[in-house]
């Protein structure tokens, strides 16, 4: 290393700026957002730590290749408007992504300071800029290309659908989103809870594309109300972004007892149907004192933390592998632990036991140990013989995964699916096996992330635009 470089390295500030949060003992009783975001001072302080690398590695870790050092240098200069503009060139949902992206395995994991444990808090900075823009109150409406007269139907209003719609409307096409539920936003609306992603933020993104001229038709189930083939009669192109909404169960005895929920049901009751306001809202919610959540991903953490906020006294995560294998974001499992969620690792439920009225009373579990690595590279959990034990519980939320909903594929002839029920689509363009039909997001990849769904939407929009313009 040259003297000059050493000089610079010694000045590197490895102290990541903390983001203010609600204290655990308070937040476990409310649905308000847990993380409070950086102030301007904190954001500038954090941004100043960035080394402005010539070959920024963080950028390669971002699935949509945001010009990370550029937006960070805008923050250093106090040019927040410039910073958010830079992000929006690549990411149309920064307020969402800054909150829910797994930065620790994406951009931040690639940051040169990571091996020193001082990686730049890219996600927090992204969130800061997005929130700063929202606070300004005036929204920059970009100029739209002149109308092309082409019509595009987008099925599903999750991050994939919102992105496709937002991109294509700016290119001058007419865009209509069809959404099965009564509120747009996909998992951002019905799944991820208020305390992690306030619904007002999602509503703002949906309002924004509406303002650009996208028509959003809710309460419309494609495959039922109208088929893809019928949509193709009216529209020049169709994009399918229906997500991975079919919940898995474990097929163990007692799974249909009352008090056993899929995570989708549990979270939908709370979020979409505003169950947390019951009895002010009319979707009934039962008060459970002891809740077990089976699984170890973000969905499991969200369910467990929701249960705490609904007043449960004892909430457990039951996961068949160990702490090290938890697929949830580290930040979320730490938050859950701080709030008092109990982690029962290396444990697998084998049977649910009910009372005489058909309500869950106990869970029978078996202990697990880790064997050789499996196909996913993680060590395979194996049952420890004769280690069965029971825990008294009055509700269990099954959060072991989702697969794509077969409704659209099964009603669309010629649309090929894989063995896993996902749609076959070109990873670069999103083109499916049906002419004029594109797809992207969880319906293609299986349950994944917001940013990947958004990225897939971007690519599909580009390909749809190309097709529409060449078609004449």
């Amino acid at each position: 290393m040259s003297d000059e470089k050493i000089e610079k390295a010694s000045k590197i500030d490895l102290d990541r700026t903390d983001m203010p949060k609600q204290p655990p003992e308070i937040r476990r009783h409310n649905f308000n957002e847990v993380a409070l975001g950086y102030t301007e001072e904190l954001a500038i302080k954090e941004a100043k730590r960035c080394l402005q690398c010539k070959k920024p590695r963080c950028k390669t870790g971002c699935p949509v290749e945001i010009d990370i050092p550029d937006f960070i240098s805008c923050i250093v200069k106090g040019d927040f408007a410039g910073g958010i503009k830079k992000i929006k060139e690549k990411n149309c949902l920064p307020a969402v992504c800054g909150r829910v992206c797994p930065q620790e395995t994406q951009c931040e994991s690639k940051c040169i300071l990571t091996n020193k444990k001082g990686e730049i808090a890219i996600g927090r900075l992204e969130r800061f800029l997005a929130d700063w823009e929202a606070k300004q109150g005036k929204i920059d409406i970009p100029k739209k290309a002149k109308p092309t007269g082409k019509k595009v139907a987008v099925v599903g209003s999750g991050p994939a659908g919102i992105t496709v719609a937002g991109d294509l409307i700016l290119l001058g096409h007419e865009v209509t989103i069809f959404e099965a539920l009564h509120r747009a936003g996909g998992v951002l609306t019905y799944g991820i809870p208020e305390f992690r992603l306030p619904k007002a933020i999602v509503a703002r993104e949906v309002d924004y594309i509406k303002m650009l001229g996208v028509k959003v038709i809710t309460d419309f189930v494609v495959g039922k109300t109208r088929s893809i083939d019928e949509l193709l009669e009216e529209f020049d192109a169709v994009f399918i972004g229906t997500g991975a909404g079919l919940p898995w169960f474990m097929n163990i005895p007692g799974e249909n007892l009352n008090g056993v929920y899929s995570a989708n049901e549990y979270l939908t009751r709370m979020n979409l149907m505003q169950g947390y306001r019951f009895p002010m809202s009319s979707t009934p919610v039962r008060k459970h004192m002891k809740v077990a959540v089976v699984g170890g991903g973000n969905v499991a953490m969200d369910s467990a933390r929701t249960a705490l906020r609904m007043g449960a006294e004892e909430v457990r995560i039951i996961y068949r592998r160990s702490h090290a294998e938890l697929p949830a974001r580290l930040e979320e499992s730490e938050n859950a632990e701080e709030e008092g969620v109990i982690f029962n690792m290396l444990t697998l439920p084998v049977r649910y036991i009910g009372d005489e009225r058909g309500w869950l009373k106990e869970i029978e579990c078996i202990k697990m140990e880790l064997g050789e690595p499996d196909a996913s590279g993680r060590r395979r959990p194996i049952e420890v013989p004769n280690s069965n034990f029971r825990i008294a519980m009055d509700a269990v939320v099954c959060a072991i995964g989702n697969s794509p909903n077969p409704l659209v594929p099964s009603t669309t002839p010629g649309l090929e699916t894989t063995r896993h029920g996902t749609l076959v689509a070109d990873p670069e363009t999103g083109k499916t096996t049906r002419d004029r039909v594109w797809a992207g997001g969880d319906i293609v990849t299986g349950a994944a992330t917001v940013i990947l769904a958004m990225g897939a939407g971007r690519k599909a929009a580009r390909s749809i635009h190309e097709y529409l313009m060449n078609k004449g």
């Binding site: 189930v221 249909n256 007892l257 049901e265 939908t268 002010m280 979707t283």
Partner: protein, 285 residues
């Protein structure tokens, strides 16, 4: 938002509502249902489609006022609107020539089975209709069933019309026939369907029921509507709502159907039910 064309009480506690829904009216087939949210605060409730008018672009639903959501629906009037009306959901009844089909209905099922009976008649079947109610004054739409039915049987608790008693009289009706029907379809409250299935299983008569579990999305996303049929987990909203009644695990179904009974009474009722004549199953005991 879907506009209400008409809303009226047709017999005590039972309402007819005609809703503007052109897309649904174009697509719906017998046996399917919609999900309705009365207002923006409301829960999503599944209701069968009892009739439709493709040209006018409307659908008709018959519903019983049993709780909060059906209560708010009952207080809506022509010109007002419901926040959500989505569908048509679920699979439709397989309409083909079976021979003689007996349609058994009670409560709201009298309305929901009507389009099924009508389509089966058009497909060349002989229709036997069985209507069950507490009393003759709770029976509606007889005028619609008369032209399509070979024979109509009624069972009333007070004996005011037809057989006196409740569903336990079904074997009497079946044994009065020259031959058992080739198929029985039952719509209505859970006990009606469970009891019929029980009776016909012993007699070996194929029986289809239109299950009415608790639902939220109606598209296979939440799993709350799961039922065990022939030992397998099924989602009633996408795999049903019609199933072979002999294969349904009725004990489990009834327990799940009642899951929120206590909470439902907690919710502030916007309107008192007009009459309190119906509670899950109690009309049968």
């Amino acid at each position: 938002m879907n506009k209400i064309i008409e809303r009226k009480m047709i017999v005590p506690n039972m309402h007819l509502i005609e809703i503007e829904a052109p897309d649904i009216a174009k697509k719906v087939r017998p046996g399917q249902f919609v999900i309705v949210r009365p207002d923006d605060e409301g829960e999503r409730i599944p209701l069968s489609v009892a009739d439709w008018d493709t040209e006018k672009g409307t659908i008709t639903i018959i519903f019983m006022e049993v709780g909060a959501s059906t209560g708010s629906l009952a207080s809506l009037n022509a010109g007002e609107a419901v926040a959500t009306c989505v569908g048509p959901l679920g699979n439709y009844t397989e309409i083909k020539k079976y021979g003689t089909v007996m349609c058994i209905a009670g409560c709201y099922g009298i309305g929901s089975i009507y389009p099924v009976a009508r389509a089966l008649k058009e497909a060349g079947n002989n229709i036997l209709t069985v209507i069950e109610a507490r009393s003759s004054y709770l029976i509606y739409w007889l005028d619609r069933f008369i032209p399509i039915s070979e024979k109509i049987f009624t069972i009333t608790r007070d004996g005011s019309l037809g057989y006196k008693g409740h569903m336990k009289r079904l074997p009497d009706i079946l044994h009065s026939l020259p031959a058992f029907p080739d198929l029985i379809i039952v719509n209505g409250c859970t006990y009606l369907m469970a009891h019929t299935s029980h009776v016909t299983k012993e007699m070996g008569i194929s029986t289809i029921v239109n299950l009415n579990p608790i639902m939220i999305d109606g598209t296979g996303m939440c799993g709350v509507c799961r039922v065990t049929v022939a030992g397998k987990m099924k989602f009633a909203c996408v795999d049903g709502p019609e199933f072979n009644g002999h294969d349904v695990d009725w004990k489990e179904f009834l327990a799940r159907r009642k899951a929120y009974m206590e909470e439902e009474t907690l919710f502030f009722r916007r309107s008192e039910p007009k009459t309190k004549i119906h509670k899950e199953g109690e009309c049968q005991v």
